[in-house]
Amino acid sequence: MARLVFLCDSERCIECNACVTACKNEHEVPWGINRRRVVTINDGNPGERSISMACMHCTDAPCAAVCPVSCFYGTDDQLVLHDKDLCIGCGYCFYACPFGAPQYPRVGNFGGRGKMDKCTYCAGGPQQDSTPSEYAQYGSNRIAEGKLPLCAEMCSTKALLAGDGHIIAEIYRERVQRRGFGSGAWGWRTAYKETVAI
């Protein structure tokens, strides 16, 4: 099976936040939760880069390692998903996650943060694929329909790429060779212990 990844080409990202909006709309993500966000580093300075970041579906995922109730599971495509029915909202996955992906519906309340929510790579949850109960908890399941995540599919500059790791890396490598520059695959070293050789 494939190894599904995200790659944000930060030389192409124009910080339009359309990926964020598409994600929120596709999955009806509630207010206050951002499964995906765009971070601009060195804003206004030389070397400014915008990177669209969500769950990277890490190899040896830290969230799954620290979960006190073991609510995470992996798929054949090496996605890291979780079962909201098992989650207790303790917040440990957020402490461990290098990318700040886990989100909680309630912040700062007394006695729990609520069920954790994060990017599912548009692959839903543990329920039967494309059922209303799956949609209510995890949003739509585009992977089951044979589609890639909407954020990457509708990226206007094709900065955000999703798909099999080898293919994505090859596309990116080709881009970098053609234009002569590139700042690399953000988060890949942290998430997959590998980088795209340029």
């Binding site: 936040n17 990177i51 402490y95 988060g187």
Partner: protein, 410 residues
Amino acid sequence: MRTPLHLVLAALLALAGPALAQQMPGETPQQPPQQTQGLSAGAPEVQGTAPETGAGRGGPNGVQPETSEPQAPTGGVRPAQPQATAPQAPVAVEEIRPNLPWTARGGIQAADLERQHDREGGVISGRVTIPNQSAGILIQPDGRDWRQFRNQVLKWAGLITLVGTIVVLAVFYGLKGATRIESGRSGRRVARYNAFERANHWMVAISFVALALTGLNITYGAYWLRPVIGPEAFTALTFYGQAIHHYIAWAFALGVLVMLAIWTRQNLPSRVDLAWLRAGGPLAKGHPPAGKFNAGQKGLFWLTTLGGIAISVSGLLIMVPGLLDDVILNQWAQIVHGVLAFAMIAVIFGHIYIGSIGMEGAFEAMRDGEVDYNWAREHHSVWLQEELENARRSVAPDNLPKRSRVAGAD
């Protein structure tokens, strides 16, 4: 002199003109004849009698209507000559150069930046345009260290600490057995803790046990309990355990503060404690003198109160993440919370041992509030002396003036 009323009447007349012309086609119209000439009968007559645009509304454009309240033209009076500007010295400007081409800018490499932060710590952060500004952290390598702490350090060090404490206590009990009251029970009782002190002690004790059990479940339950009872049951247990942990923590924190208020004075270090420790403390041969609390109990008191406050504060910061809103500080709060929790559980193991099977006559102090006279004489001799002196003074007060007589002595 024409008044506004005249103007209105004139306008009305002008408007009525076409209507009259329609009603009486045979009569001579009031309008000038050149407007109707050359036009066919019917509707064109109506069109033709209408006044020209602007003509019926006070004359041609640009001519102000006569009014009793004339307004000054806008803009005021213009000066004859435009004001001259003072000559200014030329300002030196830097030459504007175009940016270097992308290929020559060098720039940052994601992998290098991540490797650098991996080694040196610290987050890679930037700006976000969503309300949650803490989402500006792009990559935080510190989470890896926290994972190491929780999954390796805390798990194993905690396990070794707890099991080690139990083993040490068991060996101690096996070798030495329970500490008996050497001179036997006297049958006389000495009051040691009042009802309020005991109630507070047991509130802290019960809440501590509940907090410890639910906390240990968070640390170890996934390894031991979850495979036994299944994921759903374990989640239910942990979820309600977490709720108990959150709610009962307040009773614990309150009890610790009350302890601090009522027992601090008796737990200040004194010269007697040094002698007690020098004699060997809990392992001393014979019974070194001690006040109401010996040095070991004072240590326990300060660990419970100061550690209790620290563990409550760190727990509150974890429970209400919005207070910090910083993932790094949340990790540190959890580290402090976990280390203190295991340290306190281990020490409380020792406390429970001495208070139950380890020492004869100790448990009744917190159960009944009274201890045996001989127990007090052996373990807290200085305190017993003070109590006896206080009792004598209250029974036979010697601080009264000698010449005075007790009321009713006559």
